[in-house]
């Protein structure tokens, strides 16, 4: 970072922006410690009962584990599919690589609701609705474009001479990839994993189309919960999720440098 003095007006603007971004937290955190039966702000009494209530609610706990497993599987698959695809597009440069690249990321341009409806129609025919594999496939539709984009960028900024040097020193292609390319892509890989995980874990719209009484993800369960009863449990859960997300971000920052991962 440059150490240039920042204009006072800019400081005020930045402070206001932060306030705006943090405003939901200012409301949600107090409500999560509410002693009331309904969401009111400010709460009339305080307690931690709603945190306890989350863990007593079997549906919520089940949905949490579903979401966690789903995000983990989706992240793993996104990397497993995205990495070879990015390598093929960037390094092997097939005819029309750019067109293919745009095509593969085009899904992001569609409104999620359109995507959800399309997936619903197709998956219904194969009996994938409200199944774990169905959810995985649906989430991959949105995470893969991200994975491909971030990994392609990471790969194309690598100096190719370093890989060539490894080859001249006697490393066969797979060893070059494992010992040189992959470690040099480290921050890109961690960034991709974090991005895919969070996108999958937070995904509501697609999941709404794909879930049912048999299976629900955490955001979907929360959505239904809010529809039915307006108690502060959801606020408590939100705070836990914010803490979880923060933990993920911190881990990424510690191991790769957040700026390096996302800005480059």
């Amino acid at each position: 970072m440059d150490e240039r003095p920042i204009a006072p007006a800019l400081k005020v603007l930045a402070a206001l922006m932060f306030l705006f971004l943090l405003a939901p937290l200012v409301v949600v955190v107090p409500i999560s410690f509410s002693g009331d039966r309904y969401m009111t702000f400010p709460p009339s009494s305080w307690s931690t009962q709603w945190y306890g209530a989350i863990f007593a609610d079997g549906r919520m706990v089940g949905a949490f584990w579903t979401s966690l497993a789903l995000a983990a599987v989706v992240t793993t698959l996104s990397l497993a599919i995205g990495l070879p695809a990015a390598y093929a597009l960037v390094r092997l440069k097939p005819r029309g690589a750019e067109l293919l690249g745009s095509l593969f990321t085009a899904a992001l341009l569609l409104p999620t609701i359109v995507l959800g409806l399309a997936i619903l129609i197709v998956f219904a025919r194969f009996g994938l609705l409200a199944t774990f594999p169905g959810l995985v496939a649906a989430h991959l539709v949105v995470t893969l474009p991200y994975a491909l984009r971030v990994l392609s960028t990471a790969l194309s900024t690598l100096p190719i001479a370093v890989e060539e040097a490894a080859a001249t020193l006697g490393a066969p292609p797979l060893t070059v990839f494992r010992r040189v390319t992959l470690p040099m892509m480290r921050s890109g890989l961690i960034g991709t994993a974090a991005l895919c995980f969070l996108v999958s874990f937070d995904e509501v719209v697609l999941s709404l189309f794909m879930t049912g009484p048999r299976i629900a993800t955490l955001p979907v369960a929360m959505y239904h919960r809010v529809e039915q009863q307006a108690d502060p449990l959801v606020a408590a859960l939100s705070v836990l999720l914010v803490v979880l997300t923060l933990a993920v971000v911190l881990v990424v920052d510690r191991s790769a440098g957040l700026a390096k991962t996302f800005v480059k």
Binding site: P159, A161, V162, E164, A165, A166, A167, T168, L169, G170, A171, P172, P173, T175, V176, R179, V180, P183, M184, R186
Partner: protein, 355 residues
């Protein structure tokens, strides 16, 4: 030179990109233990040739043989060559020691031997004490030394150097130049040195292969190239030279109204070249030594540069640069002064004009 006699032997080596021939029928033999420069302007095919030898670019046609082993179709990682890149190309995520050890690990050398050879290679390039540093913590010169150690430690059949000095500043460049040459001699390793800098090529290398537009113009020792350039391109690229137009007719050369003895077999408009410091300048028309060429001219500009005295002399409309080392006490002639230029006939290079 007949193809196939060298330790490294290239025959008919060609690289085409569509219609464009980046390298066109390169024939070259490099004896064991020699340092040979590929010299030429950018885009002449020297780096492409090096990359074909390393196997990083597949050859369109031709053969690459090293020590009797045909390598043309062998993939890079089985060619056993050490390549030093212009950009160093070190592994940024590994320490200096790990960088150097990489090639040995690929060769499944025992751990104890790796440690010993890495230590030795790092000492060879004067980097002892920097083993645990990352490349990012080293200066450009140090990084290039690591790259050199990494390439040498595997005891490659051939050491390939791709403009290894061009990212270094002038002082470091001179230092590394001598160091690379010393190490190459001491280890008796066969090496190819790609450069666009004729100074580097002449001062470092046993032989120089001058390339232009994908073709080999001439191969020879630095002295051969400088004293007997076979083409106008070589004469112009290696060392400085005057380029003049003349007409060859009936075994004589007409230059500035004078008839000079000319090599036979050339006629029509020709290009003649002479190096500035091989021309003698006299204020007196009478002092042309017997057997020397002499032409009259007028001083157009005189420059006193301390250790040399430079004249631009107008010879019937063409400018000839003349240079002489100063010895003290010379008189600087003013522009407009009539002078006599003379040179030994063998210092004048005559080439059929390209159109």
């Amino acid at each position: 030179m007949t193809a196939g006699t060298g330790y490294l032997s290239l025959s008919g080596l060609t690289k085409r990109y569509g219609e464009f021939a980046a390298v066109d029928g390169l024939d070259l033999d490099v004896p064991r233990g020699e340092l040979v420069a590929f010299l030429g302007p950018s885009g002449c095919g020297k780096t492409t040739s090096l990359r074909m030898i390393a196997g990083l670019v597949p050859a369109t046609a031709g053969r690459i043989v090293v020590g009797g082993r045909e390598l043309t179709e062998v993939p890079t990682h089985r060619r056993d060559m050490g390549l030093v890149f212009q950009s160093y190309a070190l592994f940024p995520h590994m320490s200096v020691a790990k960088n150097v050890a990489f090639g040995l690990e690929m060769r499944r050398v025992s751990r104890g031997e790796i440690a010993a050879r890495v230590r030795e290679a790092i000492a060879l390039v004067h980097l002892t004490g920097k083993e645990e540093h990352r490349p990012g913590q080293l200066s450009g010169g140090q990084q290039q030394r690591v790259a050199l150690a990494r390439a040498l430690v595997i005891r490659p059949s051939i050491l390939l150097l791709d403009e290894p000095l061009s990212n270094l500043d002038a002082k470091l460049r001179d230092e590394m130049r001598n160091e690379i040459r010393d190490i190459q001699r001491r280890l008796g390793i066969t090496a190819i040195f790609v450069t666009h800098d004729q100074g580097e090529a002449l001062t470092m290398c046993d032989k120089v292969a001058v390339m232009n537009a994908g073709r080999l113009e001439q191969t020879g020792t630095p002295v051969e190239l400088y004293e007997h350039p076979r083409t106008a391109f070589v004469a112009g690229f290696v060392g400085r030279t005057n380029r003049l137009k003349a007409v060859a007719r009936d075994g004589a050369l007409e230059l500035a109204g004078q008839r000079l003895a000319a090599p036979s077999g050339i006629s029509g408009t020709v290009e003649v070249m002479i190096r500035p410091h091989r021309v003698a300048l006299a204020a007196d028309a009478a002092v042309v030594a017997p057997g020397h060429h002499g032409v009259a001219g007028t001083v157009a500009r005189a420059t006193f540069a301390g250790d040399i005295l430079q004249y631009d002399v107008d010879v019937a409309g063409q400018i000839v640069s003349v240079e002489a080392a100063t010895r003290g006490g010379e008189r600087v002639l003013e522009p407009g002064r009539a002078v006599m230029l003379s040179w030994r006939p063998q210092d004048l290079f005559v080439y059929a004009s390209a159109r």
